[in-house]
Amino acid sequence: MRDQLSTSISAHRPGTEQIEEASRLLAESPSAADLVSRLEHLLQLLYESARVRVSCRSQGSAFWSSRSGPVIPAPAEGDPAGISPASLEDDGESLRAVRRGPDGSTVWVTIEPESPSSRFTAADLPPFHLACVLFDAATGALLQRQHQKGLAFSLNQSVLQLNSLIETGIEIARLSSDLSPLSIALERAAALTNASRGCITLSRGTSVLEKILFPAGMDTDRRGSTHTISAEFIFDGVTTTFELFDKESRTGPVPFDTTDRLLLDAISRQVHAALENRFLHRQSLEKQRMEQDIAVAASIQQRILPATLPAIPGYDTAGINIPSKSVGGDYFDCIPLSDGRFALVMADVSGKGIPAALLVSSLHATLSAYLEQSIPLLDLARRLNSAVHRASTDDKFITAFLGILTPSSGHLETVNAGHCTVYWRKADGTVIELSQGGIPFGMLGIDFPYQSEAIALGPGDRLLLYTDGITEANDDGGRLYDSEGSLKSFFERQTPADARTFIADLIADVKAFTGSAPQADDITALYLMRNT
């Protein structure tokens, strides 16, 4: 009987080429399932008339499966204790071997004669043994390929992480980007670490300002999370906390590793730097805009000031305005009135910058309008006080000197609204101070009773109007130009033949005093002398 079966197997054994092809396919199996399937195919070729059954049980599983059916009962003989070589079992009733699959599964191979009465002999064992050796070799090769593939995947992933880290840094640092750097950073951090979800919380103290979730609408309850990592930084009083939950793997959640923590820390630092850069960039733009505004304001202010003074018959006049770096609030003018008189104006707005420039513009417009109406000087002062008070904030006011000159008679009516003392030098050398008036315009919102004084300028008389940019011009040591009455004595002493020379000499004297010290305030002066 045994001889008959051996003869039968040998008689139906396929050709060498077919077996070689099946062996090659077995060696090139791309997966554990294919390996088992191809082993079964090879055995079926070798034992054509027998019943080949290859059962597999995954690592840790209680169920066996085969290619012919998803689940089969455990072999009647019970579970194998471990791997075993090809052997002849039960007096030739079956050939049996137990091998280990590449995925850790147990592969149980049983070959039974087609007829229950048939038996295998020792002569039937070598092909089975050979198939088992081929299976083991193919398993090793598959494991090697999988290992190499895993290494390549891991290497690619490391390159990807490095590349993404660089790209993320560039993207979130892009100042023109409309996207929030936080959203980009959270997406990238989650993807790079294989986190299933993530969250960024912005908080100030104990109050949460904003939460950014990835994916949108995710559950922020961390009680269900087995693994989390976090990183945080504080910028501008706001704490930004990154949290990543549940690192994924193909077999379920796994703990985050050191690389994940390094990646999250790196991205968190990139965001911190990006936010700082955006803040500094915004400040820089704001400063640039302010400087542009100031330049425009300075330009407007310069246009308000007279380029040339009108000629007053019998008089010589000269004026100057040297603006400091920032926009100041100095204003002067000599305005011809419709009745032949002239208005002499010298004013200084408290403070500097755009608000001061705006107030100068307002004063210029209001003064021009009132002068057109030939309003008496004291009324003009009261109205200007009200108008400036209405147009300015409480801390803004204007010191001003107004004078209405009748050229033919030399009659000059003046109001000094809290401005620097105006000097009047008579032809005989006497210097008289003109300070009668009242409070600066706009200081109080009341109908203030201004007082005026009237003088008569005779031939050879001179008048000096100026702002505190001259008296308070300081040298490197911080000493003021007029701290010892320098201006008055200069005015008293210097009597050049024309007004322009006086102004030039005055400025030269001030500059000689201040030396290399920067000009802190506008320097403005108006000089008038009666010739005849």
């Binding site: 690619n156 790209e167 959270l186 997406e187």
Partner: protein, 118 residues
């Protein structure tokens, strides 16, 4: 911000178009693979994965995509990705997917490619 994952499938002349939305991670990758397996078992060997609505992919999601590409390769099939966000395209390039899979601008382009190279 990326939405929770979802997908739609469409068979056009026995070519499977899978359009995804949201994060392609373990959940997303498994859902794509399951949709693929179902149709592959019925003989579908040309697959388009439209990633227009997916801007974030992690390596677990990529591992599912690689398995699909390998399965299709063994069956002489082909996979083409479409509507790739630049960041996703770079990611798939670095991971080596385009050595064995194609990429096109739009789904229609991918289907035409299948027409030309069946």
């Amino acid at each position: 911000m990326e939405q929770p994952f979802s997908l739609t499938t469409e068979l056009r002349d026995n070519r499977l178009v899978i359009a995804t939305r949201g994060y392609i991670n373990n959940v997303g990758g498994e859902a794509i693979a399951e949709a693929f397996r179902r149709h592959f078992a019925e003989g579908v060997k040309h697959v388009v994965i439209d990633l227009a609505q997916s801007r974030v992919v992690n390596s677990i999601g990529i591992s599912f995509l690689i398995e699909m590409i390998e399965t299709l390769q063994e069956a002489d099939g082909r996979l083409i990705f479409t509507n790739l966000d630049p960041a996703v395209e770079k990611m798939l390039t670095i991971m080596g997917l385009f050595r064995y899979a194609g990429k096109e601008n739009a789904v229609e382009d991918a289907l035409q490619t299948f027409e030309r190279q069946p």
